[in-house]
Symmetry: C2
Subunit: 127 residues, 2 copies
DNA sequence: TCCCTTACTCTCTTTCAGTAACCGTAACGA
DNA sequence: TCGTTACGGTTACTGAAAGAGAGTAAGGGA
């Protein structure tokens, strides 16, 4: 474990790119969907409402490269491809699910703050 | 708590936008920086290596609107502005720090997987 | 013959992030 | 007096990324 060398606060540190990837909007949802077990391309697309085929393909490719998911293609017609979380991917589930949970739990509080902010005239706050 | 109504997997659910925001690359780092206490614009910029003034301003504005940070401007010359996490913002620290920690801890594993993936010819894996 | 299925892939348009220049005002140094 | 620095921005421009939508391969069924 050489974890001490990485610092996401530094511009060119690889851990910054990794943080970008795991915080990515589609990554969070795709990993969440795959948490339920092996799934096909179309099944993931159905769960992650609103994702385009392009982004799903692209994100799955990245997740595969990073070792978060495995891709298994059966050479049949029509195509049959299965995606599954690896151990590494499953270790990400926890932190991501917490993020998701936080968002759901604090949604109301944030909405309220937004409404309050938008009421007062912009830039009127002075200390 | 009406948390049951929100579902980030649904395209137009506000919680999806919130999840996007809190997973945002700069948000993660700015909240992390502010975790150490009240800070000025320039201090945050120095910690979050590589962020442009534009993105720092823009992200701080959003964080303020969402109720994660407070902005206090002292009408002096040159300008003096302080940013601080709210209670809501502090409640985000935990999940975000976990993400950060995960990235640092698994950086080596991911690098290894990437290298392995890039070695074999693309699209040669079949089930 | 025609269409259906699935997992892409390509093209086009729009949106977004980053870069660099500029701003105002006061204090300071030469 | 002139030029510079300080600080927290704003603005215009540009290249990259995301989204929308149509097209593709190949076999099986009506």
């Amino acid at each position: 474990m050489t974890a001490e060398d990485w610092d996401p606060f530094q511009r060119d540190c690889p851990s910054r790119r990794l943080l970008d990837r795991i915080g990515d909007r589609w990554t969070v949802l795709i990993v969440g969907a795959l948490g339920q077990g092996t799934q096909r391309f179309g099944e993931i697309a159905a769960q992650v409402n609103g994702i385009s085929q392009k982004m799903l393909t692209q994100t799955l490719r990245s997740l595969e490269r990073d070792g978060f998911v495995t891709r298994t293609a059966y050479p049949v017609v029509p195509p049959h491809v299965e995606y599954e979380l690896t151990d590494l991917g499953r270790s990400l589930e926890g932190p991501l699910r917490e993020l998701e949970r936080w968002a759901v739990e604090h949604m109301d509080a944030v909405s309220a703050r937004q409404a309050a902010y938008d009421e007062v005239a912009p830039r009127s706050r002075v200390g």
